[in-house]
């Protein structure tokens, strides 16, 4: 039983590393926003936001160690969101 008991400090290691990565990504996205990169600015902002969201979902929301049921429930919301964006974009992006 004692061997399985984690130390309080050891518990912080993984979430602490994720937190540092999130703050580094925040610095990257805010810093790069002031450098004129044309389309690159939007690309960096969107990519960094996507990576941050993924980090929070996988590690903080525990999808890494979740069952298939929970992963499916999480993906179901995303699925309908993607459908909504794709169908709307197929209208607005193709108007003349």
């Amino acid at each position: 039983m004692n061997a399985e008991q984690p130390s309080a400090l050891g518990l912080w290691r993984m979430p602490g590393a994720v937190w540092l990565a999130l703050l580094a990504l925040l610095a990257l996205t805010v810093g790069s926003a002031f450098i004129p990169l044309g389309l690159g600015n939007g690309l960096i902002n969107a990519s960094v936001a996507a990576i941050k969201v993924a980090l929070v979902m996988v590690f903080f929301m525990k999808l890494r160690s979740s069952s298939g049921l929970l992963r499916l429930a999480a993906l179901a919301g995303m699925f309908w969101l993607i459908l909504m964006f794709v169908l709307t974009a197929s209208d607005y992006l193709t108007r003349q």
Binding site: P6, L11, N41, A49, A73, L81
Partner: protein, 211 residues
């Protein structure tokens, strides 16, 4: 062992199944929240596509310092919330309690910073209407989105702070066992509210900064 059995409720055969049930319920709820915020984000996307230049002019007036500071605060609150969950699973009562308290404190700090920001926005007259200071008129669409999105986010955060505070007090008074699965559900909700802000940051504060 007694801590674990105290956390177990009907109809679950064991705490692990119960934890899964709580998480599943919250994930389904969050899927509906995704579509709620999704509609908002979709309308932003369409209007930004139609009025890109006006959105850049409008976004230039948001305060990137407050926005960045608040992102850092909220990311840190997600760390303490995640640690409260891990502390609870490991049965560390004091750690869970302190992490819950820190989470509520960081959430409140976010709202205080937001209050200062709202004050500055109002002083600058950035409320859509006849006396709106920016041109062209489409800049008002951006600012209408700003108020609605940040307002709805702040309401979600306030609900989160309330929920975290309630379970912290229940744990402190010994009414909720340290291994209760309640923390798990609240943590998922908290992280979701954090995610919404992560997406709002570039939409509201980072576009058009370089030009």
């Amino acid at each position: 062992m007694s801590e674990t059995s105290a956390a177990l409720h009907e109809p679950w055969p064991d705490v692990e199944r119960q934890r899964e049930g709580v998480s599943f319920g919250v994930w389904v709820f969050l899927a509906s929240e995704v579509l709620f915020f999704g509609g908002l984000f979709l309308s932003y996307t369409v209007y930004r596509f139609l009025y890109g230049d006006a959105f850049k002019i409008a976004a230039h007036e948001t305060d990137v310092f407050y926005g960045t500071l608040n992102t850092a605060i909220l990311l840190t609150s997600s760390l303490t919330m995640a640690m409260a969950g891990r502390g609870s699973e490991a049965g560390f009562r004091r750690m869970t309690l302190w992490c819950l308290a820190a989470t509520a404190a960081f959430g409140s700090a976010f709202l205080v910073v937001k209050g200062f920001e709202y004050h500055d926005d109002i002083v600058k007259g950035l409320i859509p209407g006849p006396a709106f200071p920016l041109h062209p008129a489409e800049t008002q669409i951006f600012w209408a989105f700003y108020w609605i999105a940040t307002g709805v986010h702040a309401i979600h955060l306030t609900v989160g702070i309330g929920a975290v505070t309630i379970v912290a007090v229940l744990l402190w008074r010994g009414r909720l066992p340290v291994k209760a699965t309640t923390y798990e559900g609240i943590a998922l909700y908290w992280h979701f509210v954090d995610i919404i802000w992560i997406i709002l940051l570039p939409m509201l504060y980072l576009i058009g900064r370089a030009s």
